[in-house]
């Protein structure tokens, strides 16, 4: 095992299974009147976010605090980072203050790898560019398993901007390792080259793949992609790829709808679909804290002494 969680590509099936199993333990803790255990008392966790994110940062912060750790948050604006301090120097400074674990969100792919090489502290990748977002991948796996009772054998359809999506990559690694069949669907300009080598099928025609999907995972569409000419207009995207009530009607009656948030309601997904009984979007958010507790426990939980009584 390593000191870091940088991606699900390098995480084994055994480790993934362990995370999913131990998440149950933490869901029980979260159901208590006092939602707090002392497991990580005395540990210091820093969230270092170079991109704004409310839900992921807060989810990690709550996970740390509910494990009894001290959690500090560094956001880019107003810090020395904006004055041009390098990532390496920032990481060294954070380490020098006695930090045990750094949670990093960064717009550049590979930034967490650089951070991990720089420090002895544990590093969790909370999303790096278009690379990976492993805790999102884990919470998606957990939610699918919880709602469907299994992952192996399911057909998961990931719809939208695959090329720029770190969620898609983490989900693809996680789902394929756990035995699901994955199809990615979107306009060819948003499907990265040679993605089939990651073990997925590729489709440009949503209507042809909807009916066999057990899970429809809808990705957030970044509006700036349109400005870069990757698709001609929002209207045309909606016409071909939005998940609407009509499209949902073509899917299996027990199909699950998921979305990593935040949603562009009326764009990649309609309000009706997001609020339907098919939707597991709220569960994803709830499970996020528990899965992150499981990850923190795995990386930081007592490993120093021998068990004696």
């Amino acid at each position: 095992m390593t000191k870091d969680l940088l991606g699900l590509e390098e995480t084994s099936e055994k480790e993934i299974r362990f995370f999913l199993d131990s998440t149950e333990t933490f869901k029980e803790v979260l159901s208590r009147p006092i939602k707090k255990v002392p497991t990580l008392r005395g540990k210091t966790i820093v969230t270092l976010f170079y991109e704004p994110s409310t839900r992921t940062r807060m989810s990690f912060e709550l996970a740390g605090k509910r494990m009894g750790a001290d959690v500090s948050n560094i956001a880019v604006s107003g810090s020395s980072i904006e004055k041009g301090e390098s990532l390496k120097d920032t990481i060294r400074t954070i380490e020098a203050m006695g930090t045990d674990l750094i949670i990093i969100r960064h717009g550049k792919a590979g930034a967490p790898h650089l951070a991990a090489k720089t420090t002895n502290a544990c590093v969790i990748n909370a999303g790096d560019g278009a690379h990976e977002h492993p805790t999102q991948g884990l919470l998606d796996l957990f939610t699918i398993q919880e709602k469907k009772g299994k992952i192996a054998g399911l057909h998961v359809l990931i719809v939208g901007d695959i090329a720029h999506s770190r969620v898609a990559r983490s989900d693809i690694w996680g789902l394929t390792k756990m035995g699901a069949k994955v199809t990615v669907c979107g306009p060819p300009t948003l499907i990265p080259v040679e993605i089939a080598k990651m073990g997925v099928s590729v489709s440009y025609d949503l209507n042809s793949v909807l009916s066999s999907a057990d899970v429809i995972y809808v990705l957030r569409l970044q509006l700036e992609r349109q400005k870069k000419g990757l698709f001609p207009s929002i209207q045309e995207y909606i016409q071909y790829y939005a998940i609407t009530k009509e499209r949902l009607a073509q899917a299996k009656t027990d199909a699950l709808i998921m979305h990593p948030g935040p949603m562009n309601i009326g764009l990649e997904i309609t309000e009706e679909v997001a609020a339907s009984i098919h939707s597991a979007i709220q569960e994803q958010v709830f499970n996020g804290v528990a899965i992150r507790m499981a990850v923190l426990n795995y990386l930081l939980g007592g490993k120093e002494h021998e068990v004696d009584s």
């Binding site: 550049k108 590979g110 560019g129 080259v193 990651m198």
Partner: protein, 420 residues
């Protein structure tokens, strides 16, 4: 001063020379070749088991001076080149200011006068490398520029390239292009499976092949001489091969890195592998090697691109492109390609000792009596560990740190004088 290289294997493909012999150097010249030379007053260097070839040249290095002396200076870059087995380098003009006028040209020539390697400056194709007006090629060529390039960037437009190729015919100088269709080259690595996996923006091979095709067409149109810098893709090799068959005046180079590495190396986001053009697929690598062996690709270069540690220890997207390579090109070539019989010794030596001089219109060194004594001496059996901490170059940016190589340069002789 007289000195004798005793019992060396003398290897000069231009003369089909491959003998074990002694070699006498006197007054800057090769004064004698023969068995058991014994000259009174000459110092004797035992070269048993060593290989002497015509002095090698790296025709694509960045010396960074003037402007970025924190990355490299002419002094440190030349020391590195000499240690790397070279007696000459051609340096690219993307300095600050760019080498586009006589004052900067003279600055480089003056600064390198006493360097352990001969420095041949390449001047800008366009003033300020801006891609607008062609530089004063005539004056620059007369004062010592050996070729023209906007390297670091492509020659911006087809129109500019056409004019440059036409105009340079007056002086029979070569136009060297960093072949790149810039609108397709906005990424940081080869576009393929690994760019998809790593979530990094890719540069497709076509970014290069489109530019190579443009340049070949213009060389054909103008009759000018075009040299394709640092080829990286199989398709480009095919284009060059066909152009040569047609008789177009085109030559090409490849870096040692593109001959040894592929995009798979980037899997850990190590910025030391970040180069432009990017490392591509195994198919490309094999095609480049084949192109080098069959003569489609004329020479091997380092594209020596020193950077500071701080610059390279950045997020992958933000780190600059390039490897500090002039010191390790020859050891890697010997160790990984020639000793392992992936490239013939003849082609390896031609690619460094002969072709660069031909392309740049320089007199090529020759192992022959009464010729200037310009030699590189190699030990094909010596093993050592590459250590960036021991680099003469200021640029420690190399992915080969810690690699064990067998085969290394042991001596260079420039105009009869031992430099390393």
């Amino acid at each position: 001063m007289k000195w004798i290289l005793k019992n060396a294997r003398l290897f000069d493909p231009s003369r089909n020379l491959d003998i074990i012999s002694d070699l006498l150097i006197e007054n800057e010249k090769i004064a004698g070749i023969g068995k058991n030379l014994s000259i009174e007053g000459a110092s004797v260097h035992d070269m048993t088991g060593k290989l002497a070839v015509p002095g090698m040249m790296d025709m694509h290095v960045h010396l960074r001076e003037p402007g970025r002396e924190d990355k490299e200076t002419i002094e440190t870059g030349c020391k590195a080149a000499a240690k790397g087995g070279f007696i000459a380098v051609a340096c690219m003009p993307n300095t600050n200011p760019p080498l586009d006028d006589l004052s900067t040209l003279h600055y480089v020539l003056n600064k390198s006068r006493n360097a352990p390697v001969k420095v041949y400056p390449i001047a800008c194709v366009s003033k300020g490398e801006k891609g607008e007006e062609i530089s004063e090629m005539g004056k620059l060529a007369e004062e010592g520029a050996v070729g023209f390039s906007d390297d670091g960037k492509p020659v911006k437009t087809a129109e500019l390239m056409r004019r440059a190729m036409e105009y340079s015919k007056m002086f029979d100088k070569v136009i060297i292009d960093h072949n790149e269709e810039e609108t397709l080259a906005q990424g940081v690595m080869h576009e393929g499976y690994y760019s998809t996996l790593l979530g990094l923006k890719g540069i497709p091979s076509e970014s290069e092949t489109i530019a190579v095709a443009r340049n070949i067409a213009l060389a054909e149109l103008t009759g000018g001489r075009y040299h394709a810098a640092h080829l990286s893709s199989a398709k480009s090799v095919d284009l060059i091969r066909k152009a040569k068959e047609k008789g177009v005046k085109v030559t090409a180079e490849v870096t040692i890195h593109h001959l040894l590495l592929t995009h798979e190396s980037l899997i850990t986001y190590d910025t030391n592998y970040k180069i432009n053009p990017p490392l591509r697929t195994e198919t490309d690598r094999e095609a480049l090697l084949k192109g080098l062996e069959d003569g489609t690709i004329d020479c091997i270069v380092s594209d020596h691109a020193p950077h500071t540690r701080e610059e390279k220890e950045m997020e992958f997207d933000l780190a600059p492109f390039g490897i500090s390579g002039v010191e390790i090109l020859v050891p890697l070539l010997l160790s990984e390609l020639i000793t392992k019989e992936k490239l013939s010794l003849k082609r390896g030596v031609e690619a460094l000792s002969l072709k660069p001089y031909q392309i740049l219109g320089l007199k090529q060194p020759s192992i022959k009596e009464n010729e200037p004594a310009n030699l590189t001496i190699l030990d094909l059996n010596a093993s050592r560990i590459i250590k960036v901490s021991e680099f003469q170059s200021k640029g420690k940016n190399s992915p080969y740190d810690g690699k064990v190589v067998t085969g290394t340069p042991v001596m260079t002789v420039l105009n009869g004088e031992r430099k390393t």
